[in-house]
């Protein structure tokens, strides 16, 4: 493997990036001016459009047992009942009861309508105190999909002009530029040139046609260049006909994270269009958890019909190659004990569990599973854009502590992760907690264990 970023470079970039991320709240545009009626009307409009028979059935299935509080890292960590997951659905339930329920003629008599104050009070619950990780879905005896309904709450608040300033900054920026953190085309090209020089081969850029489109993210362009570099090096090693595109390199989707459905659709559609234009068979989304559902499980919805390519995340693509014998990796000299973090959007919400484990096994490291693993994994503490929200700082630390306690119990010497924002959360959490355990990118690990001679390629 070619070292595409040294530890010193990464530390410096991290410090700079952390400073930049910490300042975005001050850079955000002012909250949109809307009357109370406009805010409430917009929020209710989102709810009413989304509630279908399935969601109504689930809303009517809750028996208020409170089990969901026992799965949520914020409820467990703070012991504060206000963070009980099902409580985050209260406004949605009220709108359903008053406007759509078969019993609306009755429930309207005693169910209060929404107010702007309700919406504002809800902001902390559905942004700061929920990463939509979906762990609560797995403990609920009624099988209620609380996480997706929290996502709907985010959409309602976004429509009401009440998303947190940090996410508004990110959403508006990406709506305008298509990218995040100012990682514009110039910076992308600079990074590609930088990686090219370090890797020692020409990175295929803007090929008109290719089999595989590799997507990156502003986070990786600025900071985790080893993740993008690792994926490029592995694709090159495998002899794959791949390309990166200057018109489609950003995998992040702050429309999805902020709840702004217009931006979400626009960004996903853009990537779909680029992939179709390039005729690719596979789009590999970067180590960026939410970029996976944004394209894999929303691409067809945004496009309005089936999409003619597969969407895979980095760990899935290379993990399958390892499992199928198409990619051989060299065993590490050290049998390091590691813990694997399954990013919620890729694991619990994407089913990618065995692939990263196959990679760890292939490089000869010893995986010690956390008590909660695979579908039951705890969130890193700051997913779904929360790592940028200043007011969520204490909650992020709470979530981080729960996660890290499980990791420490495994005796692991490193954490392996295939999601940039999880990695960012771990790094920030480590600094704040004084922890020192290294956090490794799975893509970088793959590149680090590629056989020296290309004959190892299947």
């Amino acid at each position: 493997m070619t070292e595409v970023v040294t530890k010193t470079e990464l530390d410096e970039a991290f410090a700079m990036f952390y400073g930049m991320a910490a300042s975005i709240k001050d850079l955000a545009s002012p909250e949109p001016e809307m009357t109370e009626a406009e805010r409430v009307g917009a929020a209710k409009g989102v709810f009413l459009k989304a509630i279908d028979a399935e969601m109504a059935t689930q809303l009517d299935a809750c028996v208020k047992c409170g089990a969901c509080a026992q799965a949520c890292q914020y409820s467990i960590g703070t012991n504060d009942p206000k963070y009980t997951p099902v409580r985050k659905l209260e406004l949605l339930k009220r709108v359903y009861d008053r406007e759509l329920s078969p019993l609306r003629w009755l429930k309207r008599l005693y169910t209060p309508d929404l107010t702007e104050a309700d919406l504002r009070a809800h902001q902390e619950l559905v942004y700061d105190a929920c990463t939509m990780c979906g762990r609560c879905n797995l403990v609920c005896p009624s099988g209620i999909n609380i996480a997706d309904m929290v996502a709907l709450n985010r959409s309602a608040l976004a429509a009401a002009g009440l998303m947190p300033a940090e996410l508004r900054f990110m959403q508006e920026g990406q709506e305008a530029d298509g990218t995040i953190f100012g990682a514009d085309e110039d910076l992308f090209l600079y990074r590609i040139q930088d990686l090219q020089e370090r890797l020692g081969f020409e990175i295929p850029l803007d090929k008109e046609k290719a089999d595989v489109l590799l997507v990156t993210s502003g986070l990786d362009i600025h900071l985790f260049r080893d993740a993008t570099g690792g994926a490029i090096e592995a694709l090159q090693h495998m002899g794959v006909d791949y390309t990166l595109r200057t018109d489609g390199y950003e995998g992040a989707n702050f429309g999805l994270l902020s709840g702004h459905d217009g931006t979400k659709k626009k960004l996903t559609n853009h990537l779909v269009d680029v992939a179709i234009k390039t005729g690719v068979k596979v789009v590999i989304v970067p180590e960026c958890g939410h970029s996976y559902p944004a394209l894999r499980f929303y691409g067809a919805e945004a496009h309005g019909g089936a999409i003619p390519f597969e969407v895979m995340t980095v760990s899935e693509y290379f993990g399958r190659a390892v499992m199928e014998g198409r990619l051989k990796l060299e065993k590490d000299a050290e049998r390091r004990v590691v813990a694997l973090h399954d990013p919620c959007k890729v694991g619990r919400w994407g089913g990618v569990f065995e692939e990263p484990r196959a990679i760890i096994e292939a490089i000869g490291w010893e995986l010690h599973e956390t008590e909660s693993n695979r579908a039951y994994n705890f969130c890193c503490g700051g997913g779904a854009g929360n790592f940028l929200i200043e007011s969520a700082d204490q909650l992020k630390r709470t979530g981080y502590r729960i996660k890290m306690n499980e990791i420490e119990q495994t005796g692991a010497k490193s954490i392996v992760v295939s999601c940039g924002s999880c990695r960012m959360n771990f790094e920030v959490g480590k600094v704040k907690a004084g922890d020192t355990i290294p956090v490794e990118s799975l893509a970088a690990l793959i590149a680090a264990h590629l056989p020296k001679d290309k004959g190892a390629k299947a």
């Binding site: 989304a50 208020k64 409170g66 009980t84 078969p102 009624s142 209620i144 999909n145």
Partner: protein, 217 residues
Amino acid sequence: MSLLDFARGPALEWAAVVFMVGMLWRIGGLTLMLRNKVLSKDRTPEPWKGGLRTMFTRFSPAPVFRRKVAFQYIAGWVWHLGFVLVVFFFQLHIQFFKGIVGFGWPALPNGMIVAMGAVSLAVLITLLIRRMLNPVLRMISSFDDYASTVITALPFATGLMAFAHIGLAYETMLALHFLSVALLLVWFPFSKLFHVFTVLPSRYALGVKFWRKGVKV
């Protein structure tokens, strides 16, 4: 007309009518709502398998949650099971149903029914007290949650008292038992007790959702 005649006559009959109409209205309303269509390709084929799986797996908590939620799962199991067995396998209840449907079925011994009824009642009272004391449950509970527990417990209490000749005269207790059942029937379609009809479809929907993504839960 005595109180008992009223209770087992018009009160129960009208309660049954309200129950039937209410249930049909609510089930029909839910069924007629639109459904969003999924366009993305499934990671695992035949998602109905995931739906069926989750309908059954969710009867007990996943191992990782067992320590934390065992009580509420077990408590739920105990009183629901007790409710079904007491309602449908108590000798006098079977005679009552036989009068309606025209046939009967074997009963469980009275001693067993009384024990199950008492345990169920104790569990319901415990759950009610827990709901009042537990900060999480207190915060998320509404009038419906408290009332539903009380209204579900009343037939157990009145039935046991009538059977054991405790409290008021037997005929009065029996009338109160019928009235408590009538109240339960009227309350059922308009309250959270309706979850009896939504819980399995809800689990099915979640199971399908996860299965589509390649996750078996």
